[in-house]
Amino acid sequence: MRIDGPFPTAAKERFGPRSPARRIVFAFAWVALIALLPARLWIWQLPSAFALIFVTRKLGVSFTALGKRTLLIWPFVGFTALGLLGQPEWHLRVGNLVLKAVLSIWILSLLTQTTSVIELIAGLRRLHFPAIWVELFAFLVRYASVLATEWNRMQLAREARTFHLPSRERWRLLAQSLGCLFIRAYERAERIHQAMLARGYR
């Protein structure tokens, strides 16, 4: 997800003038349409697929980049599909699940690829999403990079003192580091809360 910075040029020219709120509404409406189409009418998903290919090319977004962005979701789709195995019409149901997942993730990836996080947050606010959700999303975005930097620093410091380690020990250390990161994140959250209180937050 882009935090800020320029659009891909083609995307900016063709997508820029539309407001982030409209983009969000359009993307979610499209996902809802795909999700609600009955499994037996799967052939009617093809217009969406063609439209997505067209939009992706028009926006100048790389198919490889989109593919990479969907990697995280595949284990979840796989587990859900496993649960359908052996059930009546499982071929149709698994195929339907995979098709809907691909198209929905594709749409959402296009949205995040062409809309900066700041625009997304502005759009969500404009759409009157619950303030607490939007704030949580904004915090997540703001501190993801801080935590990532902290994690990298911890890993570097650990590796600098790791000379020879059996792989089991590596897993143990990794778990320790994750625990440590959690505690640091928790402490940072407390300091952020104090900083908010210091400026009159109620």
Binding site: I3, D4, V117, I118, I121, A138, F139, V141, R142, Y143, S145, V146, R188, R191, I192, Q194, A195, M196, L197, A198, R199, G200, Y201, R202
Partner: protein
């Protein structure tokens, strides 16, 4: 302006952080708070903003004529601006403008007034035009200045700084000193950077293990080498040597 009387504070785990601390800082004065790590400097600053609760254990805090209490807490926080050591703790919004406007928005000002305060605060720290910048893309010096702008936008009467020059390069440090000097508010600066304390503060307090062990004119206190060494500090270099481009510091013989 700031009056602390017999303040005593222990953390919930029983660790004693402040022991019978009493100090007074006059209006418009710039004072320094020095001491070794874990001396209680940050704890004292948090107390002045009421961030560690009210002083229930013992003692009292009075800021700008207001005794710290449940009722006065919001007003005390409005009048006291605290600049945290790590700017990433303080800059929690997605853009500079949002962050600087956070404080004024809590004061229920109109959007126009908030906008004017943001513009003025950013101009004061020489960051006009940074409104739409992303905090984590800024340099450390810029981040610290945005933190200061966020505090200035609340128009506080007292400014508290926690290690303001930590991690600064020499130029950033010099710029901070100039910026700090230009601010008219009463200031309390907690730092290990004794040269900066020497450059900015007229008075200094030495805190060690939660106890206020010394206070007085900056040159006298920081120039007292045995005192400095006894409390994990060092006499600043500029008090040992005459600077080639300037006069001897006041009070040094």
């Amino acid at each position: 302006m700031i009056v602390i009387d017999h303040l005593h504070f222990a953390y919930p785990d029983g660790r004693l952080a402040l022991r019978d601390v009493s100090l007074r800082i006059g209006r418009g004065e710039t004072a320094g708070l020095v001491g070794p790590n874990g001396a209680g400097k940050s704890t004292l600053l948090l107390h002045l903003n009421g961030l560690l609760g009210l002083p229930r254990q013992a003692g009292s805090i009075c800021v700008d004529g207001l005794m710290l209490s449940e009722e006065s807490l919001p007003e005390v926080r409005r009048r006291v601006g605290l600049v945290f050591q790590d700017p990433d703790d303080q800059l929690f919004s997605t853009t500079v403008e949002e962050d600087v406007s956070f404080g004024p928005q809590q004061l229920d000002l109109t959007p126009g007034e908030v906008g004017a305060r943001v513009a003025k605060a950013l101009a004061a720290v020489q960051l006009s035009g940074f409104q739409q910048r992303i905090p984590h893309h800024l340099s450390l010096g810029e981040k610290k200045r945005v933190c200061l702008a966020g505090v200035l936008a609340c128009q506080p009467a007292v400014l508290l700084f926690d290690e303001p020059t930590a991690d600064f390069d020499p130029r950033g440090r010099r710029e901070f000193i100039e910026l700090c000097r230009s601010l008219p508010a009463t200031k309390l600066i907690a730092s290990h950077d004794l040269e900066m304390i020497l450059a900015l503060c007229t008075r200094v307090f030495v805190l060690d293990a939660g106890l206020l062990v010394a206070s007085g004119a900056t040159h006298e206190i920081l120039g007292d080498e045995p005192l400095m060494l006894a409390h994990g500090l060092e006499k600043p270099h500029s008090l040992f040597h005459r600077h080639p481009h300037g006069p001897m510091p006041e009070g040094h013989h």
